[in-house]
Symmetry: none
Subunit: 191 residues, 4 copies
């Protein structure tokens, strides 16, 4: 009789929104942003095309929200308020964490690399990307400096590139990429 409460509506919206973002992330990661149609998203989410636009003003807005929410989660994980100091133990922990994050959120990372590899299409990352990565690079630089390397910054950048490459190989050819072994080798080599 009476309309739903504010709270009920809030709940419905929250759920739907997550559902749409979830489904869209999967499709964007699998088939690419421009190859994924709103139709496909709506149909996999089991809703009508029109409803999508009740939650996101456009396909691009949907993508942006997915990316930003993913990035936000990420920043939470790589807690930036930890002191700039990385012990050997923490370094190992950091590597483990990184692997876990990629493994836990494969879809997000696939989308990440797909978008990265096509910057002219949609600059979705703004400065957020560098803002996230830079502190990490700095911490790693410090770490390698303390380890006595002559060019710790390049060392850090190399390490970053290595992690990118590992993620790439893991995501796109997991069958031929023995993650655990690789992790071990990394720790031996860089830890």
């Amino acid at each position: 009789m009476s309309p739903r409460t504010e709270n009920q509506y809030e709940q419905i919206r929250e759920n739907r929104k997550h559902q749409i973002m979830h489904v869209a992330l999967e499709l964007f990661a699998e088939k690419g942003y421009s190859t994924t149609s709103i139709n496909a998203i709506a149909s996999r989410a089991g809703i009508s095309k029109g409803l999508m636009y009740n939650y996101f003003s456009s396909k691009e807005a949907l993508l942006r929200e997915i990316v930003h929410s993913g990035m936000a989660e990420l920043m939470d994980v790589f807690d930036p308020n930890k002191d700039n100091f990385l012990t050997d133990e923490e370094f190992v922990f950091f590597i483990n964490e990184s692997f876990r994050i990629v493994q836990d959120r494969k879809y997000f990372w696939k989308l990440y690399f797909a978008l990265l590899a096509q910057p002219a299409v949609l600059n979705v990352f703004d400065n957020r990307l560098r803002d996230t990565v830079l502190p990490l690079i700095r911490i790693m630089t410090d770490y390698f400096r303390r380890k006595g390397f002559t060019d710790p910054e390049s060392e850090a950048l190399l390490f970053g590139a290595l992690m990118d490459g590992v993620a790439l190989n893991y995501l796109y050819d997991p069958e031929h990429f023995p993650v655990e072994k690789i992790k071990k080798v990394i720790i031996e080599r860089f830890g």
Copy 2:
């Protein structure tokens, strides 16, 4: 005003084809495959849309030919008929070569990563990719085995991943990626 010889026609066709592929590679790399229209390709190549279809049966066929020709060139460079043996000197040479190749053919590699990151869209690489990479991995495995590593295969895979990551960073953020320094560090660390 005598009619052109068979050969001259052949020559014209060949040139046109290369021209189209060249232009298309640039556009695909910059803007992505699905975002690049036949119109854009034809217009940048200075020919008519219709003519495109005289040389390539479809947009996808064009892409495939670009990729395959690029892969073929690649295999030529990493000459597979060299013995499976990699001296320290040759290792350094190999790294230098790898860097040169990426730097020389940026467009191809951008397209490569973009396609890699979206396998569901177009499986352009068939088995060609593994066929190219596997021998390299084997050679590297041998190399690392001789160096005395306990898990030389993972070491080789890691090295491959590293090179991927380095290429990625170089291609998509060249300004913040000091290639030469990185190269040096790689040689020190892995050579």
Copy 3:
């Protein structure tokens, strides 16, 4: 906390209805009927989309009711029960009244002309329009006949057209249209 009486409910409904019609008239006049969305109306009226349909069965029904109510008001003003006789004094009064009506209800007249200029879309006026205008034309015809014109009916039609044109110019380019002066000239010329 006693329940509202029938009458109070009736009152509320009436108010809501007026409010919706008022807001819709403004929007239709400003942006056009088909360009105005139900959403826009509801939101400017501060109610929900659904409630709109509680008062009007459709967008078109809303438009019709707006137009008809406007026309009804109009007929009240140009009281048809006055005798068919128009003295010189009454003629001046009639002109003044006409100007006042247009100035007082700009939105309605804008909508009126917009709808008039697009009869194929929505024939909202049915016969009502002619029913309203015809008596006026007759009265004017009589007036001009008494003034001794040879073709009083055409004279009356011309006068009607003139008033239309004046309204049009006033409504859509008020800055460049000196209404008061124009009114004076009309009275001089036709009075």
Copy 4:
């Protein structure tokens, strides 16, 4: 075998463009701009939807080109290079011309009034409208001044409004509007 000549293509384009504009003008005038779908235009023109966009970049661009081309024609007719002087004879000629123009291009004028009555939607006329009308008003002002009127400018504006109103009545209710008689009355009254 060989492609069409430049000229042939030019010819084809010219024809198609006119055809589309012609059909679109009719529909816009009859049903209104926003109520007329590209589908309707294409289908009445006997072409595919897509082809429309080969000639006009958007629906709005199509409208603009129709309006501008109509305005251009108009300016040709009301030749602006005539001296600013209007004899009695010329005045009569001017009125006749005006009637002829409206009668000859009913669709254009219907569209004109429909757009005028909905300025917020699309400001298609820019300044073109005033640029066209202002010189006419000036000429009329001079004319009425020479005739000895005390407020010749208002007289001219009134005359303009009258012509608008006449056009309106003629276009939207031709059956009840005896143009020829009206014309006669205008000449008598204002000539």
